[in-house]
Symmetry: C7
Subunit: 68 residues, 7 copies
Amino acid sequence: MKPLDVLGEMLDNQVLVRLKNGIEVRGVLKAFDIHINLVLDNAEFSDEDVERRFKSLFLRGDMVLFVS
Amino acid sequence: MKPLDVLGEMLDNQVLVRLKNGIEVRGVLKAFDIHINLVLDNAEFSDEDVERRFKSLFLRGDMVLFVS
Amino acid sequence: MKPLDVLGEMLDNQVLVRLKNGIEVRGVLKAFDIHINLVLDNAEFSDEDVERRFKSLFLRGDMVLFVS
Amino acid sequence: MKPLDVLGEMLDNQVLVRLKNGIEVRGVLKAFDIHINLVLDNAEFSDEDVERRFKSLFLRGDMVLFVS
Amino acid sequence: MKPLDVLGEMLDNQVLVRLKNGIEVRGVLKAFDIHINLVLDNAEFSDEDVERRFKSLFLRGDMVLFVS
Amino acid sequence: MKPLDVLGEMLDNQVLVRLKNGIEVRGVLKAFDIHINLVLDNAEFSDEDVERRFKSLFLRGDMVLFVS
Amino acid sequence: MKPLDVLGEMLDNQVLVRLKNGIEVRGVLKAFDIHINLVLDNAEFSDEDVERRFKSLFLRGDMVLFVS
């Protein structure tokens, strides 16, 4: 099993993404690629205690620290 | 579906781009590539509370955090 | 023997992963690839003295400092 | 249309280039490549409130934030 | 002679590895690759004046400053 | 015309190189490659108000901001 | 002539290497590669005013600023 297979098992599930700057985003994982670019649906992004919601969010992979 | 397909669906729509330094840019997505280089038309770029408008803005992809 | 072979020997064992920002994560190594992307099961991630547990954690390889 | 095509349309026009460190450079775009290396003619580079002019300026692409 | 040949001559010898953040690690070099990923056996890692020992340590190459 | 062609026209001429950390180096451009690695002859490098001269200086390209 | 040819001419000569963090290392250049990984013999590395000597030092290329 490779790490990307584990991301594949998370598709259509609610995930927590932590970015390298400490920001965390929650949403339903809809897509990913080998660069760890991610698409989250119904994403909650908390930015300095203000929570913002996005129907569909494209996250650039090089800022991702972990996905769970 | 791959993340870049989701960017493709955003073409010609109004998008919000957040850069890694926290700056946010709004505009109509006109083009993108695999490096996440973006072109926004009628772009609003807020820089230290001064809002600037650009008819056409080429953004280098490695500074992009998210697109929504 | 190559460094990735040593990671291979650690599969299914409890490992300690130290990230470049000093955060340490413990868990069972389930997968890795050439980018040092890792998957840890039953992962303990200590974030500012709050310990969090994740059933399965995908860690992006470019933030890894060491694995032991 | 791809982002580099938009740069192509800017050739021989006056452009504004913002670097990742916030410095802005103005000049006539004479050349670019896929790394977003740029050549500006009659470039104005403002460095700590001192404006400097360069007849021809080669800018390394990895420091570019946007071109407009 | 190429730099990696010199690393090859250090195999099975005690080496000192200095990381980009100033941390130094000592141990027996057991493996390396072209990314300068390293494996050290009986590694001593000093972290804020606390010395830790690891039977086998995989170090990601992009944090290495020097090996001697 | 491509940006590297413009560097080619600068060969054997006196150039100013600004590094990403703000340091500037002056010298005669003797060589360059696609990574923007540069060789300057009779190079003046000012480091904290101390000017140093080097008969031949190899500069790693990834620290270059501009060449003029 | 390409920049690496100039490094080639420095082989077996005493060189000064400045790292991106300002540290300077002196020694005899014994090997280099396209990543600017270097091997210095009889290397003097000054670290916070303490000078250390290494019989053979492998320096990772991505920390090199210049070689002279």
